[in-house]
């Protein structure tokens, strides 16, 4: 039907929903997954704050989402979110960042947030390329890819961002592709409830810039189908040899650790301790 009716997620937007992303961009699917997760949890949107950086991913919440949104400098979203969360621990702070944001310019903040186990939900949109600036190689671009800055093929091995997060101490880590939108939505809901640093990596299609690299230019559908074919759940992948999973995308929820103390609660503990020491 062509009749215009309001989208069920419209209530989460500041105005009419109008993403200026390229046709077929994964951002919109991820935006829906975030909002559906919040809808599923039936939580008050006013109690959420979104922090985002520079790059296409930064525009998922800013200025669209109808709650507090802080759109900051490239790579620093986690650092701003850390200050915000420490100052207002009662709100849920969600960071959306790209792969370059997370692992190149913001790599330092990323690993330290994992280590600190601060209660942030990090949504990492991994399109494996610098989309907004014109398709340059990223730390997540597959080995030997030809990009606008690696005309001979990239000579650096990529990061496995989820594994970086796990090694750095994140207490909830999951990876999905945009093809697993439903699983993604569930994992985001879980991450929002998780009391600690949660990292959700989403392999997302950039049909315009990354599409060029793999010869599927401007074809979001082919990229999604490629994700469908190559995705393998972590439970299955564990039973296979490294060679068998070489070209696969290992997806699923990797870890969930509820035992590690969370940073803002540690701060509260220190305050009590400090006051009682003063009184002695």
């Amino acid at each position: 039907m062509e009749k215009k009716i309001n989208h069920p997620l419209q209530k989460y937007f500041r105005g009419p929903i109008n993403y200026t992303t390229c046709p077929g961009c994964g951002n919109g699917i991820i935006s829906q997954a975030i909002l559906w997760a919040i809808e599923d949890l039936a939580m008050d949107f006013d109690k959420f704050a979104f922090v985002s950086g520079i790059g296409c991913s930064g525009w998922i919440p800013s200025p669209s989402y109808n709650t507090d949104v802080l759109h900051v400098t490239h790579g620093r979203s986690i650092a701003f979110a850390t200050g915000l969360k420490l100052a207002t621990p009662n709100i849920k702070v969600i960071v959306t960042a790209g792969d370059g944001d997370t692992s190149a310019i913001g790599g330092n903040h990323f690993i330290h947030a994992c280590r600190r186990n601060i209660d942030l939900t990090m949504i990492c949109v991994n399109n494996q390329i610098y989309g907004m600036t014109g398709g340059q190689v990223a730390p997540s671009t597959p080995y030997h890819s030809k990009t606008t800055t690696t005309p001979y093929g990239s000579i650096e091995r990529p990061f496995d961002l989820s594994q970086v997060a796990i090694s750095a101490g994140a207490t909830m880590v999951a990876r999905w592709t945009t093809f697993q939108a439903r699983q993604l939505r569930k994992s985001i809901a879980k991450a929002i409830l998780h009391n600690g640093f949660s990292f959700i990596e989403i392999i997302s299609q950039c049909p315009v810039q990354y599409g060029k690299v793999i010869g599927k230019r401007n074809n979001a559908v082919d990229m999604l189908m490629d994700y469908k074919n190559r995705s393998i759940n972590v439970r299955k992948a564990k039973k296979l040899s490294p060679d068998e999973v070489k070209d696969k995308i290992v997806v699923g929820e990797f870890i969930e650790d509820k035992q590690v103390p969370e940073l803002t609660q540690e701060v509260k503990r220190l305050r009590k301790e400090a006051v009682s020491r003063c009184q002695k």
């Binding site: 039907m1 989208h7 109008n18 993403y19 992303t21 046709p23 951002n27 049909p207 559908v221 999604l224």
Partner: protein, 68 residues
């Protein structure tokens, strides 16, 4: 019922590809952006699975149970 906001559509075709019943197809018309948009071709087969809605990057598809 599947509602498609044709002017919000950018013509990526994802909804068509994720429809388990293959009942969405591009129209021959173009919207104001100059791209073809999807159309429901066999409403009766629709299971209201919502795939077309949740995969649409442009929030252009709404799936709603009929109020009839």
């Amino acid at each position: 019922m599947v509602y498609i906001d044709k002017e919000a559509c950018k013509g990526c075709g994802i909804c068509i590809s994720v429809c388990p019943k293959n009942i969405l197809a591009f129209t021959k018309d173009l919207n104001q952006k100059g791209v073809p948009y999807p159309k429901m071709i066999d409403e009766d087969k629709c299971t209201l699975c919502e795939n077309c809605m949740i995969y649409c990057p442009d929030f252009a598809v709404v799936v709603k149970k009929d109020d009839k």
